[in-house]
């Protein structure tokens, strides 16, 4: 074991979690604007009609998108996954198709396009472009699907094509303000493969993140917080991946440490958790969560490895 690894505190901490107090929701892996001092992107849902985020679908759809369902039906299903979560209050309003096919970061219209003239580049399946003020208020989100990517709209698994519904659920998660997750089974993990449909349904980690951004009912009152610090040689570790696992083995949530090494995982049900910290060393790594680096103006901490004490 390296000297650095021995000095990594909080690598494995067992904590009884019996908390349940109401608190400010300010943790988890949220997208952050550049140089924003660490504030998270957020919607002013109260300013939207009925609190719903409106969106349009580009009429033009790439011929590479094939399957049993229409692209429109798949996207409605993808939004419904986020709307259907008990613990959060996200709602959306589909406002029909539009002849526009290319994104515009300024028009305050959420455009989803499967027929963009924009070339996203080699191997890029889809990209979300989230715009707003430097203080974190979201004003526009566009989702662009790669025009040459072979997508399937079918409900059944097609092992030769990418599942449009899974990719859409992931990108809509970015629309809410969620950053990539370090948990590879999460919907917000940045990876998929042909025929992989497991990301259609948000996992616990995704659900907590969505709920903290727009909580429903008594979610904040009935859940608690794990907080602590990850340090290396006495200094805070930035962008360590801290994971809370239930005692039955189910991963509850993961989040990233702040520049001072502090972490705070909100939205946890009362219970006993195993807390584990590791570097973001793949498959998900710091490049996949670059908004954190941009927000805080510094790179992740090096020089430690995943270690169990």
């Amino acid at each position: 074991m390296s000297r650095g690894a021995r000095r990594l505190w909080s690598t494995l901490v067992l904590l009884p979690l019996v908390l349940g107090w109401a608190h400010e929701a300010r943790s988890y892996a949220f997208l952050r604007p550049p140089d924003g001092g660490g504030v998270a992107w957020r919607w002013d849902l109260g300013s939207l009609s009925s609190g719903r985020i409106p969106w349009h679908l580009a009429e033009v759809v790439s011929p590479q998108v094939i399957g049993d369902r229409s692209a429109e039906a798949v996207l409605l299903a993808a939004f419904a996954h986020w709307e259907g979560l008990d613990e959060s209050s996200w709602q959306f309003a589909y406002e029909g198709t539009t002849r526009r096919r290319d994104r515009d970061d300024d028009d305050r219209v959420q455009l989803i396009t499967l027929g963009s003239s924009e070339n996203l580049g080699e191997g890029v399946l889809a990209a979300t472009f989230l715009s707003g003020n430097r203080d974190g208020l979201v004003t526009d989100v566009d989702i662009v699907f790669g025009r040459g990517v072979p997508f399937t709209t079918s409900e059944a698994v097609d092992p030769t094509r990418y599942d449009l519904e899974s990719v859409a659920v992931h990108e809509i998660g970015h629309m809410l303000g969620l950053e990539h997750s370090g948990l590879i089974r999460a919907t917000m993990a940045p990876f998929t493969d042909e025929g992989d449909v497991h990301q259609r349904t948000p996992e616990r980690d995704d659900r907590i993140g969505a709920a903290l951004l727009a909580p429903a009912g008594d979610f904040l009152a009935r859940t608690g917080t794990l907080a602590g610090n990850v340090t290396l040689d006495g200094l805070g570790v930035f962008l360590a991946h801290v994971v809370a696992t239930r005692i039955d083995g189910e991963v509850a949530a993961g989040m990233l440490t702040a520049p001072d090494g502090s972490y705070r995982i909100d939205g946890l049900e009362p219970g006993v958790y195993l807390v584990h910290a590791e570097p973001l060393d793949g498959p998900v790594d710091a490049r996949n969560v670059d908004s954190q680096r941009q927000a805080f103006g510094r790179s992740e901490t090096d020089g430690y490895a995943t270690t169990f004490h």
């Binding site: 080699e122 191997g123 990209a127 992931h170 590879i184 493969d193 195993l274 996949n288 020089g303």
Partner: protein, 182 residues
């Protein structure tokens, strides 16, 4: 609740939890990224016109056609594949102008001083884009021994599994041993 578990049950629970963690966190290599591609080394190389190690000089956000994008200038420290000038201009998604900002989750926005191996595809106007966005942007850091090492990911291929970084010379050598597809 901590005290309600007997020691053997507690240890068993820890073992189960760690095993679950290992399965969840360290799952096998995925092939593609949802929003941004995770390409193998051979795929990155095949899609790149030039591969360089560069130091970011500056990044200038631009606003046109309703979009905020950035152009980052990199001083070429080393050419690993293909030909490039002393400075390359790299287009990146997003940026900040005045009070406005745009981000594309997972897409790097360079800062002055950044050191990276860049797999670059040429644009018609003489600028470049990074292949696979984050996949073709491999940060270079200085190891505790004072040597430059490039961060690698298992998504680059099986030989990179288990390694966090490779010495830059070793990475360059591995790259140059790939058959050149273009």
């Amino acid at each position: 609740m901590f005290g309600m578990l007997g020691s053997s049950r507690w240890l068993r629970a820890i073992v189960i939890s760690i095993a679950a963690l290992a399965g969840v966190i360290a799952e096998g290599s995925p092939a593609r990224s949802l929003s941004l591609a995770a390409l193998s080394l051979a795929e990155l190389d095949a899609a790149a016109d030039v591969v360089v190690r560069g130091h970011c000089i500056d990044r200038t956000p631009t606003h046109s056609s309703g979009r905020i994008e950035s152009v980052a200038r990199f001083r070429v420290v080393e050419k690993l594949r293909g030909e490039a000038g002393e400075v390359v201009e790299v287009r990146q998604w997003g940026g900040e102008i005045g009070d406005r900002a745009t981000v594309a989750p997972g897409a790097p926005l360079s800062q002055p001083g950044d050191d990276a191996v860049l797999f670059l595809a040429a644009e018609p106007d003489g600028t470049y884009r990074v292949v696979g966005v984050s996949s073709g942007y491999l940060p270079v850091v200085i190891s505790p021994l004072g040597r430059p090492v490039v961060r690698v990911s298992r998504t680059l291929g099986a030989e990179f599994a288990g390694a966090v970084a490779w010495p830059i010379e070793r990475f360059a050598d591995r790259l140059q041993r790939l058959p050149r597809a273009r």
